[in-house]
């Protein structure tokens, strides 16, 4: 059984064991251990690829090229992070006696399952398989959103499921149409839906059917990615889901969805040139960035704030791809990488603050958290600086790359709009974060939040922060190689 299959099996097994039951420490151990192993396997697989071989399984249905490897590694990384943080997260709730057996089962079962689904997405070389995998991520995440079983969490879950399923319906239609467009050039059987073959056949495809397929597929997977105007489920889901799950959503699922979009883009580019799908992505991307602005300016909830920020970031990636320049694609992938490194810090520290104040609403948290929870607050500030694309951190460089590509290309207006939105977003985030972090602490007699403990969750956050900061300038060379390889995959095909 080859490495690739192991990479997928381990998290699945972890999920199985976690879902079954057993003493807490055992579950914790399995989850962390399993996810650590998974990450290791992801690295190994990526290593294999960098070594020159292309890991495949199920007759090319699963295949690891540069793009897959990149997404795989990133997903594995956040999987591990959210696993370790998750342990601390649940412990905190246990201490408050908020955890039912159902919750334990769901938590230890679904988190690894979710990770599995994401990895599955990232390695599938086949439109059909991809669709199934994405559907799995949806199903895995629904109950994580409904985890706390509050009115609002049910609401969020329902909205997510409805929009998600609709999106998947569209995606399926897109898949079908792409398949139809290539009829007679793709051959029979499962392999007919492989990227590799689709991209080869693309030039002969029936253009109209292809266009229609691309449009539907983009709407479909755009829903998962949270591109406006299909983004509406995101804020709700982020607010309701437990932070570890949110991280998987905000990084893993987002990367997965972007991965799908890129695949579709590749096909469309091979057949119609970069303008068609590029234009669509550019429009939707700009829309996403713009829609994030007002809602961040007037936001009332910390986790919703971060949801809008990830809508912004997926928008930026879309714009980067849509610019139709290699630099843009590279910038987008770099952005994806740095976003995956920076976002967890933000979500984790925000999650900690939310748990300490048993609410993620800004008013509930109140001002002056620097006094109450120095570590979490400092990390929140740091991450805010990072996710707003300020130097000297990674996202600054990726945004620079994208903006430069935009301003040197034919999309100056669009890029200017993007830039303006970025400025506005910085102001918004700075205001909202400053609002809770700075200022005098409210009278402890009025509200006494739990004291901050440096537990495993906070430790994870710190580690994540260190990684993010260091990687800003010293991104590991293999990772850079992966990004370049991925760029080749997306752009290289003439």
């Amino acid at each position: 059984m080859n490495l690739l299959l192991w990479t997928l099996t381990v998290p699945l097994l972890t999920a199985g064991i976690g879902g079954l039951g057993g003493p807490r420490s055992f579950k914790e151990l399995t989850m962390v251990g399993g996810l650590a192993l998974t990450f290791g396997l992801c690295l190994a697989t990526a290593g294999d690829f960098l070594a020159g071989s292309t890991p495949v399984a199920f007759g090319d249905a699963l295949r690891v090229d540069g793009l897959s490897a990149l997404v795989l590694v990133l997903c594995g990384f956040v999987g591990l992070l959210s696993g370790t943080y998750g342990v601390g997260y649940l412990r905190r709730n246990e201490r408050r006696g908020l955890v039912t057996p159902r919750m334990r089962r769901e938590f230890y079962g679904l988190i690894p399952a979710y990770v599995f689904a994401m990895l599955f997405v990232s390695v599938s070389n086949n439109l059909g398989v991809l669709w199934i995998a994405v559907e799995l991520t949806t199903l895995a995440s629904v109950f994580l959103i409904a985890f706390h079983d509050r009115d609002t969490s049910l609401e969020a879950a329902w909205k997510f499921l409805m929009l998600g399923s609709l999106g998947l319906g569209f995606a399926l239609l897109g898949t079908v149409l792409l398949f139809a467009a290539g009829q007679g050039h793709l051959g029979e059987g499962l392999a007919a839906l492989n990227w590799t073959r689709l991209v080869e056949a693309a030039p002969q495809m029936h253009p109209f059917t292809l266009r229609l397929g691309v449009v539907f597929a983009l709407i479909g997977y755009g829903t998962k990615a949270g591109l406006a105007p299909m983004h509406t489920w995101k804020p709700d889901a982020y607010r309701e889901a437990p932070s570890p799950a949110v991280v998987l959503m905000a990084v893993g699922m987002l990367n997965g969805a972007v991965y799908c979009i890129l695949r579709i883009h590749m096909i469309s580019k091979a057949a119609l040139g970069p303008e068609f799908s590029g234009g669509l992505l550019l429009t939707l991307g700009l829309l996403s960035v713009l829609i994030a602005v007002p809602f961040i300016l007037i936001q009332w909830n910390l986790k919703r704030l971060l949801a809008y920020s990830s809508i912004e970031h997926v928008g930026i990636m879309a714009v980067g791809v849509g610019l139709g320049a290699e630099a843009g694609v590279f910038g987008a992938l770099l952005h994806m990488t740095y976003h995956s490194l920076a976002k967890p810090v933000a979500l984790f520290s925000a999650g900690t603050l939310a748990q300490l104040h048993s609410s993620s609403d800004l008013d509930q948290i109140g001002g002056g958290t620097l006094g109450r929870a120095p570590v979490a607050s400092s990390l929140l500030v740091l991450s805010a600086v990072m996710i707003t694309g300020s130097p000297p951190f990674g996202l600054f460089f990726s945004e620079m790359t994208i903006l430069r590509a935009g301003f040197s290309g034919s999309h100056v207006t669009a890029t200017s709009i993007l830039l303006a939105a970025l400025v506005a977003l910085f102001c918004g985030v700075a205001y909202q974060v400053g609002r809770i972090v700075a200022g005098p602490s409210p009278d402890p007699a009025v509200k006494a939040p739990d004291p901050e403990r440096f537990d495993i969750a906070l430790a994870t956050t710190t580690v994540a922060a260190v990684v993010a900061v260091v990687s800003a300038f010293y991104l590991p060379a293999p990772l850079v190689a992966l990004i370049r390889a991925a760029t080749q995959v997306v752009w290289g095909t003439p």
Binding site: W158, T232, L475
Partner: protein, 677 residues
């Protein structure tokens, strides 16, 4: 020496990095932490200053690579050109004493408890300024620029429990980011045109032309103007500078604004090719406006640090005015004239940094001693803080542009530029120059009034509050830096030629400038550079004044022996602080005369119980209208937030609406695709 110069800058930045690391590591041990941070900063600054001086002396740029960003393949390279070196030197001249001062100052008040953060931010700020002045690539520059902004914001927010500080920090961030946005756009468009990210290619002067060029100029003007604090982009400055710890305020007022000036020079003045006449007009207009309004607002402030902040706006205006004159000259191909103007404004950059740094440090000592920033609460400090008082007086004399001190050379040269400009430029445009001259004269006269008030009310006569009465002189560690800066004030006032001679090397390195005749007459004198229009040798005149002083002393010395001290006559009553003339009263006449600018609102309620003619108590409060804040920015903010609130309906919580978005999108796209085969 040469070897040192070659590695000086990277070494300095390395030292800063290590200092920052050490500072954070020692966070728990406040005292050690403080010393490490500031000594480290001083060392690094020393290094950069040596590099700067070497470059100025030799006139040869030093270039190199700081670091590569492997992931994006962006290279951070630096180049210490003579122009950079000049600003680098200015930075060092202020940064070193400031750091020394801080070593004592940071041991007090709120700062002590946050020393790790403050120390780090201080180092990052100075380091990023050095990087800004020396970066030779777009990304490196923007990176440093942003880091500078963030570090400053952190310092401004040091006392974040105070609402004012938070507000100031946020206002600063927002304004800076609008500016940075413009810069990013400008630089990247330029880079797109030039196909390169390095300044040498970008700012060669013939990358763009036509309307695009004008558009870029506008972008850069706004972008750098925000940092330079010119009106109407100044709103953040009077909030942020006072909020920061005083020594940091000194750094901000003295050097941070020159980052904007540097940008204006590097890009607007000499980076986009031969300036357009309209650009020059824009700069001159903004410069005049900033100078005159800045000093007018300064006049009415009762918060000492705010007063100094506004006077920073004024001086920034004078500097920009000089640059504007230079650009006007270049637009008419008057190279010699442009040289004079550039010399004027760069000289003022240096001198302003020195005396403004001195004044802010003095203000810091006073604030520390009295625990307030309100001038009305001071009084009689000269007896209690003789040295601080003396140094502040020297600073006040300098900033009023009086001869024998270092405020004079800059204004003198600016006047030369303006007068020569009047004769050298054709057409109606030339009328700007005498207008600017009159404005400058008015500005410096008002500045004198402003600082007579600031010094007189704060340091002379009787204490106006118990706090002022019990004030104590600051420790030696805080006096030495002031002494050093005060010495520079006098020194550069008496021998302006020294600075000017150094400057000549910088000037010739700028494209399109050439010296027809040397402007420095030895170390002692300055000449107008063109013909024998004017020249000045403060030293000689100093002798004359001194001998006249001696004569005066001689006349009166005979009776000094029998000098009597008597109480001041207070119309029969006894003299108390209440009978003294207040700062508000002092500026009242000007407030009334410039009513149109201030639009003052006064409110007098006299509480009388028996008869209105015998009031028990009279409350008087007057405030001037914050014109720009109220009529320019407030509506903007209202608009933005209003529309943001309006957008809420998009996310009103109804799943059906959300689904409808998808439906609509799908239908639109389907119709767009149509059925065309």
């Amino acid at each position: 020496m040469v070897g040192l110069v070659a590695v000086g800058l990277p070494a300095a930045l390395l030292i800063r990095l290590l200092t920052v690391a050490a500072t954070l590591a020692l966070a728990r041990r406040a005292r050690t932490c403080r010393w490490v941070a500031l000594v480290g900063s001083m060392l690094a600054s020393l290094l950069t200053v040596t590099v700067a001086l070497e470059v100025i002396a030799s006139g040869l740029s030093v270039e190199g690579v700081l670091v590569r960003h492997a992931a994006s393949g962006i290279v951070f390279d630096y180049a210490v050109t003579p122009l950079s070196a000049w600003f680098l030197m200015v930075l060092g001249v202020v940064a070193i004493p400031t750091a020394l001062y801080s070593a004592a100052y940071f041991s007090h008040s709120v700062v002590a408890s946050r020393i790790a953060v403050v120390g780090t931010a201080f180092n990052v700020l100075v380091g990023s300024l050095e990087a800004v002045f020396t970066a030779s690539g777009v990304v490196a520059f923007l990176c440093a620029w942003e880091v500078m902004t963030l570090a400053t914001a952190a310092l401004v927010a040091t006392e974040h429990q105070e609402r004012a500080s938070r507000r100031a920090a946020y206002l600063y961030l927002v304004m800076s980011h609008i500016g940075t946005g413009c810069l990013v756009a400008g630089f990247l468009v330029l880079a797109g045109q030039a196909g390169s990210l390095s300044f040498s290619a970008l700012l060669s002067g013939h990358v763009v032309s036509g309307p695009l060029r004008d558009g870029l100029f506008a972008l850069f003007f706004v972008g750098f103007g925000v940092k330079a604090g010119v009106i109407p982009l100044h709103v953040w400055l009077p909030e942020a500078h006072p909020a920061a710890p005083s020594s940091v305020s000194a750094l901000m007022s003295a050097v941070l604004i020159t980052a904007g000036i540097y940008g204006l020079y590097r890009v607007c003045g000499f980076g986009l090719g031969v300036p357009d006449q309209n650009w020059a007009l824009a700069l001159m207009a903004v410069g005049m406006l900033s100078a005159i309004l800045g000093v007018l607002y300064a006049l009415t402030q009762t918060d000492l640090k705010r007063l100094l902040a506004y006077s920073t706006i004024e001086n920034s205006g004078i500097i920009v005015l000089g640059l504007g004159a230079a650009m006007m000259a270049l637009a008419h191909d008057q190279r010699a004239l442009a040289t004079v103007a550039v010399a004027a404004s760069l000289t003022h950059v240096l001198n302003h940094a020195i005396f403004k740094g001195l004044l802010f440090l003095g203000a810091g000592s006073v604030v520390m001693a009295t625990g307030t920033r309100q001038i009305e609460q001071f009084g009689g400090l000269l007896r209690r803080m003789p040295w601080t008082g003396l140094f502040f007086l020297i600073g006040a004399l300098s900033i009023s542009g009086l001869p024998l001190l270092n405020g004079f050379p800059g204004e003198w040269l600016t006047f030369q530029a303006l007068l020569l400009g009047f004769t050298a430029t054709p057409g109606l445009v030339r009328l700007n120059f005498p207008l600017a001259g009159a404005m400058l004269a008015l500005t410096s006269a008002l500045a004198a009034a402003c600082f007579v008030r600031a010094f007189g009310i704060s340091f002379l006569a009787l204490p106006r509050s118990p706090a002022a009465g019990s004030a104590h002189e600051s420790p030696l560690l805080m006096l030495v830096p002031q002494a050093w800066l005060a010495t520079l004030c006098v020194g550069l006032g008496l021998v302006p030629g020294v600075a000017l001679r150094a400057l000549e090397g910088v000037i010739v390195s700028l494209p399109g400038l050439q010296l027809t005749s040397p402007m420095a007459e030895g170390a002692w004198g300055m000449a107008s550079g063109i013909g024998s229009f004017d020249h000045v040798v403060p030293g000689i005149f100093g002798v004359a004044v001194l001998s006249a002083l001696a004569f005066a002393a001689l006349l009166t010395v005979r009776r000094e022996a029998v000098a009597r001290r008597v109480p001041t006559w207070a119309c029969g009553g006894d003299l108390t602080a209440r009978t003294e003339y207040t700062a508000t009263a002092f500026s009242k006449p000007l407030l009334m005369i410039f009513r149109a600018v201030y639009r003052p609102r006064r409110q007098v309620d006299s509480l009388a119980d028996v008869s209105p003619y015998f009031p028990q108590e009279v409350r008087y409060r007057t405030e001037i209208e914050p014109t720009f804040e109220r009529y320019m920015y407030a509506p903007l903010v209202r608009l933005v937030l209003g529309s943001a609130r309006g957008m809420r309906v998009l996310q009103a919580g109804s799943l059906h609406t959300y689904l409808a978005y998808v439906l609509v999108l799908a239908v639109i796209l389907l119709i767009w695709l149509g059925g065309t085969t």
